[in-house]
Symmetry: C2
Subunit: 298 residues, 2 copies
Amino acid sequence: MKKILIIGCGLLGSSLVRRISKKKIAKKIFIYEKSKSNISKIKRLKLPGTLVKSLKDGVVNSDLVIFCTPMSEYKKLIIKINNFISSKTIITDIGSSKFESSKIIKRFLKRGIYWIQCHPITGSEVSGPEHGKENMFKDKWCILIRDERTNSKHLKFLNTFWKKIGSKTVIMNREKHDKIFSITSHLPHLVAYNLVKSAQDFEKKQKYDLIKYSAGGLRDFSRIAASNEIMWRDIFFDNKINVSKAIDMFIKNLNSFKKDINSKNSKSIIKKLIQTKKVRSKILKLKQDTNKPDFGRN
Amino acid sequence: MKKILIIGCGLLGSSLVRRISKKKIAKKIFIYEKSKSNISKIKRLKLPGTLVKSLKDGVVNSDLVIFCTPMSEYKKLIIKINNFISSKTIITDIGSSKFESSKIIKRFLKRGIYWIQCHPITGSEVSGPEHGKENMFKDKWCILIRDERTNSKHLKFLNTFWKKIGSKTVIMNREKHDKIFSITSHLPHLVAYNLVKSAQDFEKKQKYDLIKYSAGGLRDFSRIAASNEIMWRDIFFDNKINVSKAIDMFIKNLNSFKKDINSKNSKSIIKKLIQTKKVRSKILKLKQDTNKPDFGRN
């Protein structure tokens, strides 16, 4: 590949820049970034890409353009790049939800331009190019979205791209993607935010200093609840139908558990607790987490 | 101290044995354990304590007896030790909730015998003496419970004991303890169990293989949801009044968040997400968790 443009050089954008350069996937990497603070960090870090001041300089003649911004930025950017993008350039993104964003793309992107949505399953609670890592995508799943308009040549091209990056790839449709990640990612984040909020509400009401006792469980949730707020607002909004259903299902389980506790239904509780334990073994077997107790923290 | 008896030598009991021996806190450590599997592990591990076959052999002449069993075992054990315990022996425990267990102690323990409840804030998702560690309690909080019947000499004795173990100690009443830990520990565990259960329910209903995509958030919860089921049933039952209230408060927050998502109330969502983020910084400042991104896992 001759030229890749990364739009938005935060945690994941900067990780892509590092990896593309390391693996020599493109001859030239261009970076378009609007945040002044990120721009100075990129310069200080000497990231192996060329910062462009205008989108046009980055887009023209690019083989691949990768949107790595929050999803709420897509519309504005699409309207701009419509002015100079050619059908030789393929576009993709790394957004964590696909429903609303696909509607924006369909509605605003110029006809004849191809965009295949992707979603690498990686990230962190920290943001910004200084936290990016060359191996961020290594051995992680990357989902490629296929729909009735997907050009199979382009899909193959992107599949090869992510494999070169080091990811394991899987192709699925948008509906399935959004359903799966409403459960495995969006609900857990939402739950973490609300659990931490409940602790804050309680602390305010009771005037107890309780965060210092967070090692009993709360601290784990606080990590996820520290994730980037703009990115997560966009995800919750994009996938609101599935996320709402997931919340309802979860609340139903909570209420049933509460009933078991209050009636001291030992049989039901033990059955549930043993059942959920099995998921951890499955996750470890699939190498989706470290097998060290307590994440190897202590 | 001449003699300490550890009743129940699992993760935490065995960690105490290791630490007491290392720091030479007692001349003699006795271990009473009823599980055959644990007994053979203790022998294989050559833990620095003497296994006793009868409770009597362990209790008689002990300066300190520490209950490290699930709380549902207390009643049976108390009735047994009443036959040979003297007022020279102090009893304590390491249970994570104090309300119901204190009622059992009050109701069944022989008059004139002193029991001061404790709660070291530590643990892991793995169980058994093979996972115990000498530094399990080091720099962790240990709560000591004081009530109107507490003998201050005994409280001082236990405070010194936990400090020798390496813990930071704090004294509070039972009500405050159970309220604080309903939020910082019991609710997080309950939420983790139910989140994983919701994922399992969804997987069954949709026939999607979703656990393999758990790296987006679910895997963190699966660790806590793998914790010992007997211990956690006992905690939920013991602290059911506070835990029920915590569930209700949490569900209220979830419903409010759902409303924000469905009405795309950006201002409200962003305010909440920024607010909860602050707790993570506070936890890191208090050194209650590793400051490495993603717990330093990758």
